[in-house]
Every structure is written in C-alpha cells, then in structure tokens.
Symmetry: C2
Subunit: 399 residues, 2 copies
C-alpha cells in the first residue's frame, strides 16, 4: 500500500468543482463526482433525528440503487426547510440527471452550510452545465475545495496497492470543522475506488470502518444534521472481492481503513480553532461501553480541552471527567500518561515528572493514555483543544 | 416571605472567614460556620465517582449524625490525594473539634480548588484559633468570601417568614463558577435555618428541591469532584415541622426552594466568562426523560452557547442539538421562541420576526422556549453562554 497524488484520479471517475454563488465570496461551492458507469454504493448518515433534506433523499436513493453521480453544495445545508427542501433536492438532482442523460435515481445529493435558509435551487441549476463541462479525471482538488465551509484546508487521502498484479486505488475527499462528534457531524466524506466489490460487502465494510474512524472523533460534542459518508466503487478492477476471508478483501479493507482514518484525523486537526491534536486511548476498562464512555467524556470536556489549549497537563480535570463518565473504575488505581510520560499512578500525581510533562504538553500532537486497571477493554478517540478561535468562529458564523 | 440582610444572621449560628495562606494572594480562603447546639443536618454530594477526600468524609459524617460546625477551605480541593487526603481531612476536623471542645463527628469538612495537590493541613491548623476568634452572628459575608475560587462575586440569598406569629429564617451561601453541570459540580452551598425540623424530613426536602434547582443548571457540562450542598437547622423556632401536609412544612419548603433557586441562578450568571443567562424550557415532550435530555443537550451544546455569546438567534444549532439529544419528536412540528418571539414554527424559521429576534438576543437574560409538540412533559434548565473569557480563565487556571 502506498500513497498516490490525487491528481492521478481513480479509473472510472471524473471530478469538478466551481463557484455557483451560493456563498457570497465567489469561492467554489458546487461539486460533482461522475462515474462512467453505475457504481456499487454504500453510505452512512447522521444519527441526528433532525435530518437535512439531502440526507433523507440520499439515504433513500443509496439504499438499494447504484449511484453514478454525486452532487454536493456548500454554503446551504438545506436543513429545517420542510417539504420545500425535499422538493428542492429532487429538483436539482432531476435537472442534473437530465443534463447527464441518466436516471434520476443514480444521482446522490449532499449539502452542507447554513441551516434553515431556503435552498438556492435556481442558482444551482443554472450552473449545472458549466459544472459538467469542468468534469475531468484530474479535477479532484477542485471538488475537494467546493465542499468546504469553515475548513481551513482541503482534506484528501489516496492509497494504491496491487491485487493479482493489477493496481487498485482508493481516493477519499472530506470536509469537517465544527460540530464534529461521534456519529459523525457536519462532515462529509466521499470515497471512490476501482475495486470490484458488490454492494452488500461494501456496505458492511463501510459500517465497520466508520465505527473505528469517523465515529471516533470529536471536536465539540455537537452532532450535525447533514453528516454523510459515501463510498462508490467503479468495479473496474479485474479481481472481484467475493468473500471476507480473501486476501483481496483484506487488502481493500486496509486501504479503506487507512483513507478513512487519515481523513478523520485531518478533520480533528482542522477542527474549528484547533491548535492541537489529542489522541485519547482508554485501556483496561471493564466493558467496551465503559471504555467508550470514558474516552468520549474526556474528549468532550470543555475543561479538559481548554487546559490543553493552555498547555497545562491538567490531570485533575481528566480525573474529574472520568469520574463523571459513568464508567466503572476505582479512582485509586487509575494511571494517566501524556506522550508516554506518567502523570498519575494509583489516582495520584507524580511530582518528579512535572518538568517533563510541562514540556510535552507544548507539542502539537498529544497521546493521552488512560489506564483504568479494571478490565481488558480499550477505546481510542481523537479530539482537539478548545481555543479563543473556536469561540470567535462560532460566535460570528451563522450555521 | 420577604428578604432580609444577611448581616442579620440566623438565630443559633455564627460565621467567620479569614485568609489562611492556602491561596497565594492573601485573600480569605478559610471559612467556618458554628452553631450553638448540634443541628439537624442534610447533605447531597457530587455523583462523580472521583470524589474528593472531604466529600467522602463528610458524606459519612452527615449520614446519621448531627452537625455543629462546617469547616471550608478554598484553593485546594483535596481531591485525588489518596489515603493521605483522607487523613488530612480528619486531622483538620479533629483539631477544630478540640479547639471548639466538640466531638469530631460534629464537624463537617468541605474543600474546593486545585485537584491533586497535597492538602496544606498544617497551614490550616495553625489558623484555626484565629478563625474561631472571628466567629460572629454578623460575619456571613466573610464566610461567603472565603469559599470563592474563580467566582467574581459572593452568592447569598436570605428569606424570612412567620410561622404561628414567630419569625423563621433561611440563609444560603454558595460558590460556583466553572464545572457547573447537572448533579451539581464545583459548587458548594451552605444553608442555615432556625426552623425546627427533624433530620429525615430535612433530607427528603433537600433531595427534592436539589433536583429542581442545583441539578437544573449547567455552565460547561463538566461535573466536579467536590460538589456539596448542606442544610443545617438549629431547631430554635418553637413550632416544629411534624408532617408534610402542614402549612409550616409548606412555608419552609417555599423558603428553601426560593433560596436554592436564587443561588443556582447566581451560579449560572457568574459562570466562568458568562455574559448571558439562558433559561431553557422544553415543553410538550413525550416523557420527563425526553424533556430533560432535550433541555440538557441544548444547554450543553458549545455551538448553541457560542451563538448566544455572538448574539445570534441561531435556531438551526438548537434544532441540531435537539436532534442529537435522543428525545423523541417530529422535527416538522417543533416550535422555538426567544423571549416569547417565535423563531421557528413547524420546524422552519419565521422570516417576518428576524428583526425582532436580532434585537431580543442582545438582552442579558434570554428565555428560550422549545415546544416539542409530542406530549405533555416539561423541564427547565438554566445555563450561560460560552465566551472568550471562559477559554481564557480555563486555559490559565489550574484546577
């Protein structure tokens, strides 16, 4: 498995991204992925019960159908827009289908941006011909730019490998930023591959890897109305994945996991106002649920996150968060490590390490290991710190 | 029921607060409440499983015993200090008992401040004689000052009424600030009264009112290791409360509720960096649990809180928080009101009210009414906004 430049694309796919005037500032805000043939598709969506119109429509479309094109806009979430929002989603998809000469069921729609504002259907429809004209196998960067909101950079990850001597590729493109939290959250991810795999296997694989990657990151504990992850396979490689015990399956699984994990970490690193990536591992918990509860409570604690922003190895707040997580453990057995340096043993601070700890929390990436010494289960969650910039962005920006 | 100046005190109680050098800056950090006779006592404590030493000791002492003195220090939480912390708590209590010529079981200890730092037992013990010398019925303000940490002001509430022509009083003193969240959190509250009531009734009353007041506020969703609320009754009034159906019981209940509710709101208003008090009411939820889940999710959403700081009536984020709360409702029926002005009906924004809404969110107190239209249950939670100042305080301050 090795990286490849995203410009090289993936056999069977073309990309485009253009400004369509949805955002004020003439940046790219309309994107398209188009496949030469209908693809195997699998998708997962936000568990928020307030779902945006495109999420409702797209979930229905991806359930059983193949997908041949993905239409995404940023700047307007088309959420809390009622029946009109649903109609607007269909209208843009249907118009694109006509222009591409496809059945409308083959178009998967996605939106991200401000909630509760009427969807700019006409503005988007008017720009579809130009969007299609821009399609090219090399244009994934334009697409990656067109889906951003408060993100400060594009997020892509691309790996290739060989199966039976034939090259296969996985290319992922994502956006994230605020509202990132388990069960995803204003994040969109689009993954394309030329692996030959049937829909059913792709679905179960996406679900499994999603739990370990996008559902294990948290920026601010908020979950959005629009999160979606979709994987499209053009099935152009000659060796089909037929069963879970094959080497082919393993190879693809590793590539997909790597791409999704990298995108997930990029999203956390670029969390609104983030200055540090905090990788939290809880080990030796009594149950899986305990491990996850403990890790998430620490990841979402405003007090813990502001301490990291202040470059303070404030283990007291971590103990406080653990204690309020509902996970079962004995506070007098807990051990904490910052970048492998012991801060707490048996529930109490280790004074001799203070200088080394003060130094290590200044790093831009911190591994926080929490040993509950109460079992054998573990869980990893990535998060970021909570800064002035987070407050500035979210006090100023209407989502 | 009417207010009275705290300087007038409550029959049977004396107060003191002095600097003991626990904090660096020679402010008051050691407080004492002393009763002429052993009091009926009831207390509730943090549900955080990481409990500070004084919480463990005090919970044991208040379970069955009367209490005659309350010793509080700020600046050091005596949390995550292991067996030594427990010994230190006993040592200071025992020394105070000797000085006051009481049994040690009659002393209830409390601490708040930095976690994980060795308790300054000797420093405190040395100052006990001066603390006792300062005891006076008028000194409740000194006591109120001595328990503060990042609070910007003292928090007191005092009401009197008459029962059978005889005056009765309830005086409450609290500290709050960061880490405020359901099940209380770095908050301490001390309430004294001259009502005659037995321990059992006092306990059930405290538990009931605590659920409606201190457990219904949230500053940052964090729960501390040290939260405690204690009520002491000197039993000096001549009409004892004997049963729950009496007018006397009602009168006392109203007074205690008023005092605890006022203290709870003061804590939210003085939440770290808070610029606004947000009173959230969820109504017409299907179940009590749904109402509470929905209200708490909105109250603890960083995105909602930063929007209020930015004076943005960002109802989309409120819808997003509701949807991720797990409460059952139909997003197309929800209505939202800011200070009684409708922002959302049937899950969609009301454009004609935008100007009025923009104006009303500039107020320092905002009533947010959320109508789920899915049942008949309701719940109220008070919270504050999330500001630069919250980040500054918590990035700089080691708790």
């Amino acid at each position: 498995m090795e990286r490849f430049p995203i410009k090289q694309g993936v056999p069977g796919f073309k990309f485009a991204g253009i400004p369509a005037g949805i955002k004020d500032d003439s940046v790219k805000d309309l994107g398209l992925i188009f496949a030469e043939h209908p693809c195997s598709a699998a998708a997962v969506f936000t568990k928020n019960s307030v779902k945006a119109a495109p999420v409702l429509v797209c979930a229905e479309k991806t359930k059983n159908n193949s997908i041949q094109a993905v239409l995404v806009n940023s700047g307007n979430a088309n959420a809390c827009t009622g029946q009109q929002g649903i109609k607007d989603t269909h209208k843009t998809s249907d118009t694109l289908a006509l222009e591409l000469d496809l059945k409308s069921t083959l178009i998967a729609p996605f939106s991200t941006g401000v909630i509760g504002v009427k969807f700019p259907t006409q503005r988007i429809i008017k720009r579809l011909p130009e969007l299609i004209k821009n399609l090219s196998a090399q244009n994934s960067k334009d697409f990656a730019e067109s889906i951003l909101t408060t993100d400060t950079c594009i997020k892509t990850s691309a790996f290739k490998d060989t199966i039976n001597g034939e090259p296969v590729k996985v290319l992922g493109i994502a956006k994230g930023s605020g509202m990132i939290m388990p069960n995803m959250a204003t994040m969109l991810a689009f993954i394309v591959t030329d692996i030959s795999i049937e829909k059913k296997s792709l679905k179960s694989l996406l679900k499994e890897i999603n739990e370990e990657t996008f559902n294990m990151i948290s920026v601010d504990g908020d979950m959005s109305t629009n999160d979606s992850v979709i994987v499209l396979s053009s099935n152009m490689s000659k060796t089909p994945i037929t069963n879970k015990c094959s080497k082919t399956y393993d190879t693809f699984k590793k590539m997909l996991h790597q791409v999704m994990m990298e995108l997930a970490e990029m999203i956390v690193k670029d969390g609104e106002g983030a200055t540090k990536l905090i990788k939290i591992t809880v080990k030796n918990a009594k149950t899986d649920s305990d491990a996850k509860k403990a890790a998430m409570q620490v990841a979402n604690s405003c007090l813990v996150k502001t301490a990291f922003f202040g470059e303070d190895f404030n283990w007291g707040r971590i103990m406080g968060a653990l204690g309020s997580s509902g996970a079962s453990f004995d506070m007098n057995r807990v051990a904490l490590f910052f970048n492998k340096i012991a801060a707490v043993q048996n529930g109490q601070g280790i004074e001799k390490n203070i200088l080394r700890l003060k130094k290590t929390v200044k790093k831009s990436e911190i591994d926080l290991l929490i040993d509950l010494k109460n079992g054998e289960k573990s869980c990893g969650v990535s998060t970021c710190d909570l800064s002035y910039e987070y407050v500035r962005i979210n006090a100023d920006y209407t989502t």
